[in-house]
């Protein structure tokens, strides 16, 4: 399976580099949203719960753009059939796509967090950065797993652009709650607060549950 995952990842990265679609869209969406919040809230700086809320909602909506594009090449250029004809474990496709989405999210977040700190965040971003990276990494894993699962369901339908947000956003509610609660103390005025272990555990549990679920059902999603 390792070789198949590597082959799929290499192919997808090459396609994204050659004709960038998902990543630029996610970055631009995040930046535009922060600019809109900046003017809509009429506040120069935000912190604590409000800052965490803005960050997580923006991240989630940006992720939806990436999820929507995840299987498009497979669907439109016959990649599904090409993969299904190969003598490889079908879970390789899930692992490759989830890894790709995780990488896209991590890349986008570099720009996103920088723009957030510059445009909206009151407190210094440096002190909470290690904690924020940890929370984002756990959340990315959850978004990648659920996003890949939802994308695989939606891409089989004509209304895939509608289905992805309709399925992915409700499924992501626990992730947003845990992410925002974990992040809020980090972004509070007066210096970074401590990370609460229970929210990290919640994120970890979310990743585990949906990871196992995806592993169990992904094969069936590829059946006709």
């Amino acid at each position: 399976m390792r070789h198949a995952v590597a082959a799929l990842l290499r192919k997808d990265l090459r396609l994204e580099l050659r004709s960038p679609e998902a990543v630029p869209a996610m970055v631009l969406f995040s930046l535009s949203t922060f600019v809109l919040f900046h003017f809509a809230l009429d506040e120069a700086e935000v912190s604590g719960n409000l800052a965490a809320g803005i960050l997580w909602v923006t991240l989630l909506f940006a992720a939806v753009l990436g999820v929507n594009r995840l299987f498009v090449a497979e669907r439109e250029e016959g990649g599904f059939d090409g993969f299904l004809l190969a003598p490889v474990d079908r879970t390789a496709l899930f692992v490759a796509k989830a890894t790709l989405l995780f990488a896209f999210l991590a890349f986008v977040e570099v720009f996103m967090v920088a723009a957030f700190a510059f445009l909206l965040l009151g407190p210094s971003p440096w002190a909470p950065l290690p904690g924020l990276v940890l929370v984002l990494a756990l959340a990315n894993a959850g978004i990648a797993v659920v996003g890949t699962l939802v994308a695989a369901i939606a891409v089989q339908t004509r209304a895939r652009d509608l289905l992805v947000p309709l399925i992915a956003l409700p499924l992501s509610v626990p992730l947003v709650i845990a992410g925002a609660r974990a992040t809020a103390p980090l972004l509070a005025d007066g210096g970074a607060g401590a990370l609460e272990g229970r929210w990290l555990m919640t994120l970890g549990l979310y990743d585990l549950v949906f990871g196992l679920l995806a592993y169990a059902i992904f094969d069936f999603l590829l059946e006709d």
């Binding site: 070789h3 082959a7 192919k11 050659r18 059939d81 090409g82 299904l84 004809l85 003598p87």
Partner: protein, 220 residues
């Protein structure tokens, strides 16, 4: 062991029956030519044999394995050349073939051999979206033959090829068990050991000694 054994195989899309009651047997090394008008069920049959569609009725055995239950044992032994080239447009021919070679565990040397054989070596590093239809088809032939499949499933394999390319490609597709969909009745019959004619998803013609007139009647 027979290459293909179908017993009362059928498939529906919702209420519409695309294929019904197909029963036949094909020996190793033989060619089954499938004829029928558009929408007759030819592609559905091909996709069932390729393990890409489940039959809703009957039993299908390919290379000694029952589908879809043992599809995993057949994948990698089948080469499919259908309407879609199964190539990524933004990748070059060589990158596409490398990708499929990795999935099938095939050495890179085989890619170069096939590119040479179909006369595509000079354009191998150009993106597929810059190719003519014939060049896409030649690359798709390489993709289908990469893993040296025992069974070839071919849907109009020479479509879009100029006479020179036909001369390069046609010999590569011979010498193994084949299911061949063709609208070129004369050429299809010349290749066939067994002929299947479909009309509205049902078997209208099946035999080893079939006349051209019988096949043409399928399109009337």
């Amino acid at each position: 062991m027979r290459a293909i054994e179908l017993a009362d195989v059928g498939r529906a899309y919702g209420e519409r029956v695309a294929l019904a009651g197909v029963t036949l047997a094909l020996e190793q090394g033989e060619t089954l030519a499938v004829f029928g008008a558009n929408g007759a069920g030819k592609t559905t049959l091909l996709r069932i044999l390729a393990t890409l569609l489940r039959p809703h009725r009957g039993t299908a055995r390919v290379l000694g394995h029952e589908l879809p239950k043992q599809g995993w044992a057949v994948r990698g032994r089948i080469g499919l050349l259908g309407h879609e080239p199964l190539l990524y447009r933004d990748l070059t021919a060589r990158e596409n073939l490398r990708f499929h070679a990795r999935l099938h565990g095939v050495e890179a040397q085989r890619i170069e051999e096939l590119l040479d054989a179909v006369g595509m070596r000079a354009r191998a590093d150009d993106p597929v979206h810059t190719f003519s239809r014939g060049m896409v088809q030649r690359t798709a032939v390489c993709r289908a033959l990469l893993h040296d499949p025992e069974l070839l499933l071919l849907d109009e394999p020479l479509a879009g090829l100029d006479p020179g390319a036909v001369g390069l490609v046609a010999p590569l597709l011979k010498g193994r068990t084949r299911v061949l969909i063709s609208h070129d009745v004369e050429a299809g019959l010349a290749e066939a050991d067994l002929v299947l004619g479909l009309r509205q998803g049902r078997v209208a013609l099946l035999g080893r000694d079939v006349s051209e007139a019988d096949v043409r009647a399928l399109y009337a």
